[in-house]
């Protein structure tokens, strides 16, 4: 059997495009609006969520047979919250400036529906290996949308890529101006809408 046909590969790859948590399931939109002004914050947020999601899926999947049904959501939430706080503390220790820019949004991963959703629908019913891959896939799917939106917003809004100016001075002198609207949250809303439209049109064919 080819690698692309295996169950493990499918678990990882499906949430990347076909079943992307943001553009197909419409989850985690709030943070996608807030942290996509710059590439740097988008990448860090994507990585943080992937870390939390993969390890919460793994942990919950390992415990899935022993978690008492009646308190399972509370247990899931404590696992997620613990991971989020650890991620936040690590960012504060090693990426202080970025963590200041992300402000509350790393902490708010706790309330990100993707994390709880994957724990409930996938990790509770699948073995640890698969659950871990599912977490990685969904995190990467979320991160890839964030990065695409941030790429558009940073390029058009600030003329920069990862903080380095890419629009030459000459163009500005010729009358080009940065699009201030791209710096505001509604811009992300419109870009995500366009991405969803694009994806749905392409996947029909």
């Amino acid at each position: 059997m080819k690698l692309t046909q295996t169950k493990h590969f499918k678990t990882f790859s499906e949430p990347l495009i076909q079943n992307n948590p943001i553009s197909m399931q419409m989850l985690g939109i709030c943070s996608a609006l807030a942290v996509t002004v710059q590439m740097k914050t988008a990448v860090v947020m994507g990585l943080s969520l992937t870390f939390v999601l993969a390890f919460s899926n793994l942990t919950i999947s390992i415990m899935r047979r022993v978690i008492p049904r009646n308190i399972r959501m509370i247990v899931e939430l404590s696992v997620i919250a613990t991971l989020v706080i650890i991620a936040d503390q690590v960012l504060r220790a090693f990426f202080y400036d970025i963590s200041k820019q992300l402000s509350v949004f790393v902490g708010l991963i706790i309330t990100n529906c993707i994390v709880m959703g994957r724990a409930e629908t996938f990790a509770l019913g699948n073995p640890p290996g698969l659950s871990f891959l599912d977490g990685l896939g969904n995190g990467a799917g979320y991160g890839s949308v964030l990065v695409s939106v941030a790429l558009i917003r940073e390029t058009l809004g600030a003329g920069k890529f990862l903080g380095v100016a890419i629009v030459p001075e000459l163009v500005y002198r010729a009358g080009y101006e940065n699009m201030g609207f791209m710096q505001l949250a509604p811009a992300a809303f419109i870009i995500i809408g366009l991405l969803v439209w694009l994806q749905k049109t392409l996947s029909k064919e």
Binding site: I71, T82, A93
Partner: protein, 245 residues
């Protein structure tokens, strides 16, 4: 009953494991975070006096070296006199002097005040004439991102530069934050004491205005000494303000 017991047992074990992990992460990473906070604080003092270029990335060591070279921290008593070494038992108000060739160019007042959702920490730098603001920065706050949180942004902070904390007769009035429309209605003499507020963050502005007024009036004795040109040289033999240099 045994089911309930099992749930309780499981919950207790989960809570225990989670708190152990959090304690480990918190105490293990604390030294790194402290270092970051310390450097960030120094960076903000340097930014308030206008030593940092915008958009330039500075290394930790670069910030520390620049701080050691330009800034000296000391304590002043209630009459605005610089306190001697060992005097006052660590009491007094901390103040940061920006000196160049032995002369004081500006002094920085730490701002710790109440915001809408939590404490706002920052610095207000005043030129050595004791009345002109040379910069304002915020390094820690809990205000809402996009609304009150904008106080940490350059566009808001740069409005403070050049404003005065005294009126035209030289009397202390502090510096306030007001709606742009309200400022437009003021006469020219009054405008110099106000900066444009943030729309959607009226309360944050109000708290900050009150906090600045309270803090600046505590520091008014020092400012008076600056205005009467008594503080143009860095006083010798004065106590450090107790921060780790």
């Amino acid at each position: 009953m045994s089911d309930n017991l099992r749930s309780i047992f499981f919950a207790v074990v989960t809570a225990l494991v989670c708190s152990l992990l959090l304690t480990a992460a918190y105490s293990g990473l604390r030294p790194f975070q402290q270092e970051n906070i310390e450097v960030d604080r120094k960076k903000n003092i340097l930014k308030a006096v206008g030593l940092l270029e915008e958009g330039h990335a500075y290394s930790h060591d670069g910030i520390k070296a620049m701080y050691a070279e330009n800034i000296v921290c000391m304590r002043v008593d209630a009459e605005g006199r610089v306190m001697e070494k060992g005097a006052g038992g660590g009491k007094g108000l901390p103040i940061y002097l920006y000196r160049r060739d032995g002369e004081v160019v500006a002094y920085v007042v730490p701002i710790n005040t109440r915001g809408l959702w939590g404490k706002i920490h920052g610095y207000l730098a005043l030129e050595s004439d004791g009345s002109t603001v040379s910069g304002f920065t915020v390094y820690q706050h809990n205000e809402t991102p996009g609304l009150g949180g904008e106080i940490e942004k350059e566009w808001f902070q740069k409005n403070f530069k050049g404003k005065k904390i005294v009126d035209q007769q030289g009397r202390f009035v502090s510096i306030g934050i007001a709606k742009p429309a309200a400022i437009a209605a003021m006469d020219a003499a009054e405008k110099i004491n106000y900066v444009d507020g943030i729309s959607g963050a009226t309360l944050t502005g109000r708290f900050l205005t009150a906090g600045l007024k309270k803090i600046l009036s505590e520091y008014e004795p020092v400012s008076i000494r600056f205005r009467s040109k008594e503080m143009l040289r860095v006083p010798k033999g004065s106590a450090a303000c107790g921060e780790s240099q």
